[in-house]
């Protein structure tokens, strides 16, 4: 966990499935003047303590939300801002329901309350497609976890990356990543949305196959009083592909 910044209010950035806190490198620093900025890795990602992983605790998003609440309690959050990318948007929503005083604002970047298609609901995923994703992870994580760290040198154009790269990039434990994928893509938080009391901002990208705009609009429509912003960005990771857009949208909201 990393705490920087000088503000009196806290702003917590939470990464989604697939990477770690470095997802926020292009966004978080610009809030350090006005906020106490908190970055962290979920258990199993980045440089977290792998021995803290427990399959049963993390068999639903609640386990991850409990960790967010625990961090919030430790750091004395009151009326803080939670910024969650992807699945973390729902983890933040659950955390805000568990500890209502903790977060007065939620920023959801590419949220989805339900990835699987249902009778009348279009989430964008079928069960078979999720199995295909798990298969992909099985095929690729072997190489990634071993090859990630070393061999990464000579980045003359971005020297600041060099050192961090050797300490592994978006490194996720293969077994935990598979379980996290399953928990993420089989989660269903649609009924939690109307209960959210925090002011909520939904940031949506164009052509996001993981959280299509119909899904973002659905999340917006079910959270009372939420704000919806369609970013000028494509894909699922605007925090990387369009960090200025994301920063401006968050700044305007908080």
């Amino acid at each position: 966990m990393k705490v920087t910044g000088t503000g009196s209010r806290s702003m917590m950035f939470a990464h989604g499935f697939g990477c770690d806190q470095q997802m926020w490198d292009a966004v978080a620093p610009s809030f350090e003047q006005d906020f106490r900025v908190i970055l962290f890795d979920y258990v199993g990602a980045g440089r977290s303590d792998l021995s803290a992983y427990d399959s049963s605790k993390y068999s639903s998003l609640n386990g991850y939300a409990d960790d967010v609440v625990e961090i919030g309690r430790t750091l004395g959050f009151h009326g803080a801002v939670f910024v969650g990318h992807s699945v973390s948007a729902m983890i933040g929503a659950l955390a805000s329901l568990k500890a209502p005083e903790m977060f007065s604002e939620l920023v959801m970047v590419g949220p989805s309350a339900r990835y699987l298609d249902d009778d009348s609901y279009h989430g964008g995923f079928s069960r078979a497609q999720i199995d295909e994703l798990l298969e992909f992870l099985a095929e690729n994580h072997l190489g990634w976890s071993a090859a990630m760290g070393p061999a990464i040198m000579g980045n003359p154009d971005r020297p600041e990356l060099g050192e961090r790269l050797t300490s592994s990039f978006c490194h996720t434990d293969p077994k935990i990543a598979r379980e996290f994928a399953r928990v993420t893509f089989l989660s269903d938080n649609r009924d939690d949305l109307p209960a959210i009391k925090a002011r909520t901002l939904v940031l949506q990208c164009r052509e996001d196959i993981i959280a299509p705009s119909t899904v973002g609009e659905y999340v917006h429509s079910r959270i009372p009083g939420s704000t919806y912003v369609l970013l000028d960005a494509t894909g699922h990771c605007p925090n990387l592909s369009a960090p200025e857009e994301v920063t401006a949208a968050i700044r305007a909201f908080v």
């Binding site: 989604g16 499935f17 697939g18 990477c19 470095q22 997802m23 490198d25 992807s86 497609q129 295909e132 994703l133 798990l134 298969e135 992909f136 992870l137 099985a138 095929e139 690729n140 190489g143 090859a147 990464i152 980045n155 154009d157 971005r158 990356l161 790269l165 990039f169 978006c170 052509e207 996001d208 196959i209 993981i210 494509t234 894909g235 699922h236 990771c237 990387l240 592909s241």
Partner: protein, 372 residues
């Protein structure tokens, strides 16, 4: 005949390279692709232009692209050796291995993402097979481990349950000996029954210790120095005399002060050593037991005569279930010396062996400074 070779044509090399080339705009649109790749996909290069690269990936690859590959490319500038499935125009999958780099200008602005793709149908099929067999082997191994634990639990429970009926039989024999008028022959039979009962009881103790050890409970000892050790050893010798009445035992015990140890286990250690001496030693030669507390250590040794133990056998003697090649009839399970060495270790002591033409001697040494 001419010796001139045609020069390499770079655009032809690009188009017909033995690998697929594809370049994407930052929003994953295909801006250039070579003919090799287009052919793999059953399309023309112009049909590919403008489409999203994600359209020609399997669904798993698409999700992984967004969640893993895109962040890695952005943060690190490249990814290597990624296994992907391309989707042919007819819907079939083409397994490939991909490397990718981001082309950035001097200001760091991202212009293209370039992919090199190698067809890897056989290789990935082989890897998938390997992974499947690994999963199978892991499952079989886990099942085997469960079965082994179950077997050891079974041994532990069986050993434990055998103790009570055996104790009842031994008590019955002792009552007959004490209270009944018996013929000489009847008396002899009872003495042999009693000796066999004690031998069976010692075997059960060894098996139980072994099973507990294997079940991960460790070799448990309970030490104190509340009572003297010597009478325990005298009792073991007395029992051994009933088991082997024809043998000569040469006993020299001088343990005056109480020793901080597990007396029952030390008794078991001595019993196992004596029992081995009876089984394997020369029946004509005496069995010598000496025990003393010289200096800061307890020393107990058991010696017998007979043929020396060869070096190869000595190396394996303390392994569980090891049975010497000499006379198989009376060997038991081969746990005796394994238990002896475990008892010695638990007391932070050691077992030494000297075996030559004159004698075979096992010596147990343990420090006396552990009094608590």
């Amino acid at each position: 005949m001419s010796d001139t070779f045609p020069t390499e044509d770079l655009s032809d090399l690009y188009e017909q390279a033995p690998c697929g080339y594809i370049s994407l705009s930052p929003d994953t649109r295909i801006v250039k692709a070579n003919r090799t790749l287009a052919n793999w996909l059953g399309l023309t290069a112009s049909e590919l232009l403008g489409r999203s690269f994600l359209d020609v990936l399997s669904f798993g690859g698409r999700i992984a692209y967004e969640t893993h590959l895109a962040p890695l490319l952005r943060l690190q500038g490249f990814v290597d050796e990624i296994a992907l499935d391309l989707i042919h125009a007819d819907g079939s999958k083409i397994p490939v291995i991909a490397n990718a780099t981001e082309k950035r200008d001097e200001a760091g602005k991202h212009h293209f993402t370039r992919f090199t793709l190698l067809k890897a149908v056989d290789r990935l099929g082989y890897e998938r097979g390997l992974r499947a067999s690994l999963t199978k082997v892991e499952a079989a191994f886990a099942a085997e481990q469960d079965a082994a634990i179950l077997r050891e639990q079974f041994i532990a429970v069986l050993g434990h349950d055998l103790r009570n009926p055996l104790a009842a039989i031994t008590a019955g024999v002792q009552m007959l000996q004490a209270r009944e008028q018996l013929s000489e022959r009847g008396d002899l039979i009872l003495r042999e029954m009693l000796a066999s009962g004690k031998r069976a009881s010692a075997l059960i103790d060894n098996v139980l210790d072994f099973a507990r050890n294997r079940l991960g409970n460790g070799f448990e000892i309970t030490c104190d120095s509340r009572e003297p050790l010597q009478p325990v050893l005298e009792q073991v010798v007395a029992e051994m005399r009933t088991i082997a009445p024809d043998r000569v035992f040469d006993i020299a015990l001088s343990i005056e002060d109480p020793v901080y140890c597990d007396r029952v286990k030390i008794g078991q250690l001595v019993g196992n050593l004596l029992s081995n001496a009876v089984t394997h030693g020369d029946p004509e030669a005496p069995i010598r037991l000496t025990a003393d507390t010289l200096g800061d250590r307890l020393s107990i040794s058991v010696a017998n005569g007979g043929a020396p133990i060869d070096a190869a056998t000595q190396d394996q003697l303390f392994q569980p279930f090891f049975r010497g090649t000499v006379r198989s009839s009376q060997n038991g399970l081969g746990l005796g010396l394994f238990i002896v060495s475990e008892i010695a270790k638990a007391h932070e002591g050691s077992i030494g062996l000297v075996s030559n033409e004159s004698e075979t001697r096992f010596t147990f040494l343990m420090p006396l400074t552990r009094d608590a």
